[in-house]
């Protein structure tokens, strides 16, 4: 059945009286109905990123009052580059968290691959693109290895990746060796998470993002119309876009101010921002609009149902670990770019922050619920806590304790939300 026109049942339904039609219920209503439906969903436990956004606002207010420099241009740009590895790692973990799995070794995976990358790009070594390809290959191989044991052999991912967490730390020690640390040499890689876009490029990026979002939304509407399905009011789409535009303009304007302390002006959006946004949009497309993404959600929701629907569950689970480990390599790239060197302890601690980022943002540990953007927002929350507490000069122990507390709090919200949305509504 390629088009619904060929389907007599569909044609009959399209001609049916509108009050009899189920079609578009909850779609064609007015703005007010949509708002009510949204409130109902939130109260039903589908809170999404709301708690994280609220938390982020509260943190900004608290730290803004607590320290003069927190809301300065320089610290905000700093916060973005600090958060970049965590954002990327959080997004990497979403692929396995959606399945209800976990990857505790994602951090040391980037440690091993980046240690290899930095060593390979020492003077007289390989060119950096080739070394990066090898590093990505290492991530791919590690993910394939984990996926094999989880999806084919059937070992819980917690156990497999805990083993990898320990084992890869050993590999990392061997790669780094007695030197203790290696300096990062290639200039373009250094620039990735330490330099800024020219001011004009920042605005261009914003325009590009908005145009893309609007284009996709309009394309969706056109497709729905062509299929004979009603669209939600266009004002909702415009309001969303306007909201994103306002925040975007404010952010780009803010980051376009001079934040240098000396004679040389420093201004512009950090280069990592468009890189992260670009990746997030591609991966969101994969999760929302393709079979692979839908099947990740389906398997996370009910693995047996997915299997009976003809989905190749083993292949999807396996490749989710490959994706996670490979994207984690990119998180590592942001990390070494910012730090400027590779050492033997890389990635050991950040992995739990990555899990925390995803869960704080609203990705469920139980699988089947969550979006990539949640991981971004959650990572910003964790990074803000670390940044703000660092500015206030609080000891590292306090920062760790608070981060851990936030993770448990977020997991509690997740568990409670799950219980609520699992409740059966009798009609």
């Amino acid at each position: 059945m390629s088009a619904n026109v060929d389907n007599p049942v569909a044609r009959e339904a399209a001609q049916a009286r509108p009050e009899d039609s189920l079609l578009g219920k909850g779609m064609e209503d007015g703005v007010r109905d949509h708002f009510r439906a949204y409130v109902r969903r939130v109260r039903g436990g589908e809170m999404g990123a709301l708690p994280a956004i609220g938390g982020l606002v509260v943190l900004f207010i608290v730290f803004g009052f607590a320290h003069d420099l927190f809301l300065s241009q320089r610290n905000m740009a700093n916060l973005l580059t600090q958060a970049a590895p965590l954002v990327m790692l959080g997004m990497a973990l979403v692929f396995v968290l959606l399945l209800g799995e976990i990857d505790l070794s994602a951090g040391v995976t980037f440690g091993v691959s980046m240690a290899s990358f930095v060593r390979l790009t020492q003077p007289d070594g390989l060119s950096w693109p080739l070394a990066l390809a090898i590093a990505l290959g290492i991530g791919l191989a590690i993910g394939g290895f984990i996926g094999f044991f989880v999806a084919r052999v059937g070992i819980p991912s917690f156990v497999v990746t805990l083993g990898m967490f320990l084992g890869l730390q050993g590999v990392l020690l061997v790669i780094i060796g007695d030197a203790g640390a290696y300096r990062l040499i290639p200039a373009p890689v250094k620039a990735l998470n330490t330099s800024n876009l020219p001011v004009w490029a920042g605005w261009l990026m914003l325009v590009g993002v908005l145009a893309l979002l609007a284009g996709v939304a309009l394309w969706d509407r056109a497709r729905r119309r062509a299929a004979g399905a009603p669209n939600p009011p266009i004002s909702i789409m415009l309001a969303k876009l306007a909201g994103i535009a306002v925040v975007g303009v404010a952010a780009v304007w803010f980051l376009s101010q001079d934040r240098g302390s000396g004679a040389i002006p420093i201004r512009g959006v950090p280069i990592v921002v468009p890189v992260v946004l670009g990746f997030a949009m591609i991966a969101t497309f994969l999760l929302d609009r393709t079979r692979y993404g839908r099947y990740l959600y389906a398997i996370g929701g009910n693995r047996e149902a997915a299997r009976r629907a003809g989905i190749n569950v083993t292949a999807v689970r396996w490749t989710a670990f490959v994706l996670c480990s490979t994207v984690a390599v990119l998180a590592g790239l942001f990390y070494v770019s910012r730090v400027g060197s590779a050492d033997a302890g890389m990635g050991r601690e950040i992995v739990l922050s990555g899990v925390a980022a995803a869960v704080v943002g609203g990705v469920s540990l139980f699988g089947g619920r969550g979006r990539l953007v949640h991981a971004i927002i959650g990572a910003l929350v964790i990074a803000t806590i670390q940044n703000g507490m660092g500015l206030l000069g609080l000891p590292a122990g306090t920062v760790l304790a608070v981060s851990g507390g936030v993770l448990i709090l977020a997991a509690t919200v997740d568990a409670l939300a799950r219980r609520r949305s699992g409740g059966v509504v009798v009609t």
Partner: protein, 250 residues
């Protein structure tokens, strides 16, 4: 029942090691009729169904689809002939909405991306053709549905691709009185659309309410195949427990 059955089994056999679960079973289902498949636990009902679904191919015998010999060696083969199974424990994903569940594994796509609008239209049509009115929105998560509504979605999932044979495994086992009535009405409408419905049930009340034909399995052999109108509940109980045979009754 003079017309040709949509699906017919002739002397099918299935063994698990030394245990013969199906010992040469004949079975048929006709378009527009509900055929109840009854039998005690261990009679071979599930094995018979799994063979039709292509999950567990038969060892021997013939399968005829619209009079032609076919081989059901894989769930894909069954799907190709429009044979759909609605499992007892509702193979639905709670975290997906109604449309996503109905199209899971066979999404409508263009350029590799979903045609959400088209799927919504077809899902609405399928539910409408079954006269389903109890669902508020097609985009609500399945987790928010009641047991009867879930069963409805599971059945609608089978018709969305215009199935020719729909196999229901204990469709009312977990439901209350009102919801059972709802689902049985749905089963009837499904048959009225020209689908051959095969319903496994332990509940003879359901069988006598909705089925046209009843086939009774007893220890791997088909002991009775009769029209519901031409038999009584006592006789069917007798066939199930092995205390009566067709010949003795006739």
């Amino acid at each position: 029942m003079g017309n040709q059955p949509i699906i017919e089994l002739r002397a099918v056999t299935k063994s698990f090691g030394p245990v013969d679960v199906l010992k040469g079973v004949d079975f048929a289902a006709h378009a527009g009729r509900v055929t109840a498949l009854v039998g005690d636990n261990g009679a071979g009902k599930s094995t018979l169904i799994k063979g039709l679904a292509g999950v567990q191919p038969y060892d021997g015998g013939e399968v005829l689809f619209e009079g032609e010999r076919v081989h059901l060696g894989h769930p894909r083969d069954a799907a190709k002939h429009g044979i759909e199974v609605v499992y007892q424990d509702l193979a639905l994903c709670d975290n997906l909405d109604i449309v996503q569940n109905m199209f899971l594994g066979r999404e409508e796509r263009r350029l590799g991306t979903f045609e959400e609008g088209q799927m919504e239209v077809e899902a609405a049509a399928a539910l409408q053709s079954l006269s389903v009115k109890t669902v508020k929105s097609l985009r609500q998560k399945v987790s928010s549905l009641s047991g009867g509504q879930r069963q409805t979605v599971a059945i609608a999932r089978a018709v969305v691709k215009q199935a020719s044979v729909v196999i229901l495994d204990e469709p009312t086992a977990a439901l209350g009185v009102a919801q059972t009535a709802q689902v049985l009405a749905l089963v009837r409408r499904l048959a009225d659309h020209g689908v051959a419905v095969i319903m496994i049930s332990h509940n003879l009340q359901d069988v006598f309410e909705v089925a046209d034909d009843v086939s009774v399995l007893y220890l791997g052999t088909m002991t009775a195949r009769v029209e519901v109108a031409k038999t009584t509940r006592e006789d069917v109980v007798g066939y199930i427990t092995g205390t009566k045979t067709m010949e003795a009754v006739a």
